[in-house]
Amino acid sequence: MHVELESIMQMTSNLMTLAGHGAARELITIRSWLVRFPVRRITMDISISAHHPVNSRSSNLRPKLSVLWLPLASLLCCPTALLAQDDPALDCTQSLNPSACLACKGTAFAKALACALQGGPYVEGCNMNYDGMFHECMDGVAPSPPPAPTGTVIDPWCDGMPAPGAFYGTCSLGFVDPVPNLQAAKDPTKLVDDHYILATQGTRVSGIAADGVARIVIQVGGQYAGQQTILSILQEDGITAAPAVEPGQPAPYGWLSSVNGPEMTTTLQISAGQTNSTFMAFAVCHPPLEFSRGHQDSNAKSRQMYIQAVAADGGFTTTNPLIIWRPPVVLVHGLWGEMSDWATFTPFYDLTNNARFFMRTAAYSYPVSVITSDPVYTQGQLVRVRANALGFEFNAPVVLSQIQEYIRQFRSRPGNPTAAAQADVVAHSMGGMVSRSLVGLQAYANKESFGQGSVHKLITIGTPHFGTPIAADLLASPCVRRLLANNGETPLRQASLGCPSRYGGIPVNGAVGDLVGTGDGINQNYSTAVGKIEQIARTVPTAMVAAEVTLLNTSSLDNIGPALGIRLACSGEPLAMRLTSADWPTEFGGHPNDGIVPVSSQLRQSTAGSGGSYWHGFVHSQGTTSLGFTPPFELSPDPNGVYGIQAEIELLLNWSVSETNVFKPIR
């Protein structure tokens, strides 16, 4: 068995090297399944090969090879992957519904395989993360059985009665996601107040995402009109949650209100009314603003609370559990980037230790048809242009629609229907500007987010909030531009797209043009696109993570390496000539930078400790290292036992957005 596995690993390893960019991503997926084999030595081999930068860039051999090898590799590894027993996070026997879990994993596998055979993620319908599909299958893992609250009797009243809110085996207390059927037609922040609709519409849920915005309608069966019921939020230990809830302050278990009511309380009295065939009372449960209450929740996937309904006349007492989930996390890549940029971002890809995140990757790296461009490139170079070379405004709608689609996927997970309105967004480099840009779109504050917007919190890593001086120099350096364009990384100020495209024939901004700026924000020395973002009225809680290169990262520029190659190939261009450890800082006026973006721009002029954290010894990206800088780069995994950028991101995902010294409400 081991021999067979090793040969599969070797085969995929060779393919990773040979098949080139297109097939590499599918192979990474296959590899990520293979790592679940209980063979530790093989696992190590994979992680090393899969993260090797050469694999994603070097070869131009067509991925046709994968057509021959992938089915064989898949057929061999599929049964073992599906039945893997050593990893509880992937073990379907631990699922609430083992057979459904197995079927789901099989479907996910088949879909991934079909996509791979069609030619990769650019194929329609394949633009998704297959690891995430496995996550989804395993979201049915049963939570630890909660201790029953003392002094209450579960649901003694409604046996044999109509089941207005039946879930978890009770019939008198139900939770319903009001999106979209229970939302008022004109005002997305309001719910309908018609009792018949409240009693019959909506989607049954068992949990709510801790985003502070989602809501669930609580349906409480009554025995007669006007029957008073006292609703309470109970902690996981059965004690009533603290009643004091202030607007904007953390309420660790959320709060209750009447339908469209202003209350913010953990105990609420409601009155039953007549519905079509029975009596029912309604209230709304609002989730906490943040999942984590502190250290005890940092590593949890979900936590639990109870909703208790007690009839004031003593007629019944019903208590039902409600699961609080982390909001989904969406990763957004940067300029010339793609989904696989996050392959080394282990907090989210290490399924064993971090299955707590429902993670998805937004991508805007699909090919676009560019007719003309500024600066001018040849047709051969323009065919290599992808959307990730275009500006913020062009990409924002695509990323927003993906974020909203991922929230929908999160809400409808098999076995765990959950009310959710927002996602946490982690963005690298220009991805941060695209994410900030989407806040200004009309579709951002959609009905599904109750008009509050689809982003719960934004964490930016190395984002040029005020642009970067390199952008202007790059546009003024034809030789360096040409080298990059030949590499599929085309610096554009503007481009005209061909049809079919929503921008067909209309000039759109290029990404590098949008990133032009001095980087310090002084006198608003940045592009119009950045200026537009700064004018957006709505704010998003944003934490900024910045990095700075040290001599350990830049001294390699003086070696016989890529920097020398660029200097030789583009002698005479100041940008090329500055690719030395002594001269590169002059690109940023001597100010600290990560090799591409000045720290002042990454922190939006803020200082470490006041809305941003600051890390030494990191270069901007893997692309930066290919210019001759020495890793680690900002998305590199933290070395074992070292608290680095990735650990910081995990911390920020657990950090409350109400702490405005960390999460600044910026536009």
Partner: protein, 208 residues
Amino acid sequence: MSLSQFDEYSFMTDIKHVRKSLQATILFAVGGAFAVLLSNLMHPMLPRWARLQGITDLTVIPIPFAVLSAVLFLRAWKALAAVPLNVMVWFVAYAISRQGSDRAQDNFWILVAGVVGGVGVALSDSVCCPHLLSPKRLSRVAFIGVVAAVPFAALKANALIIGSPAIGVLILCAFALWQASVGTYLYIVCTQRERMDETSDMAKGLQE
């Protein structure tokens, strides 16, 4: 001198020239790599204002080749003129290689630069080695120049410069290969007369 002695001597002469040619090849290869190292080392020594204006000292790259040519096979006072001519040829070839705006054109112009470089150094060295001026020899050196320029095209036009971690070694090898190929050919041609002279001296001795 007997006929067998002549054969043996002639054979030894051939061996000696082959050995010398190989030595020349190695010297030109090392010189080519050394030129790149030297250029990289000298870059930080330029005045800061010059570096920031994009000025770099590429002059050092052709110098080892020119000096080796002068020492190994030109060996005349006129070689002093060939050295600056060689340097000029390098700059012309370099300027040509910078032409082009996409991969296909980059490939084309780098190969043209290879031809111009090969023919150019042959013409420069013809100051001391006139029999390089034959069309047959010029076309041969042009062919060698273009073939030896292929690695440059592979490096630049395919943007390996941007992405490859081993690019430094490849750049050294590309310069070493071109200078060794062209230099060795020029060496063989220019020392052919010397070898023929040695052999004919022996033949005269045999007749006597």
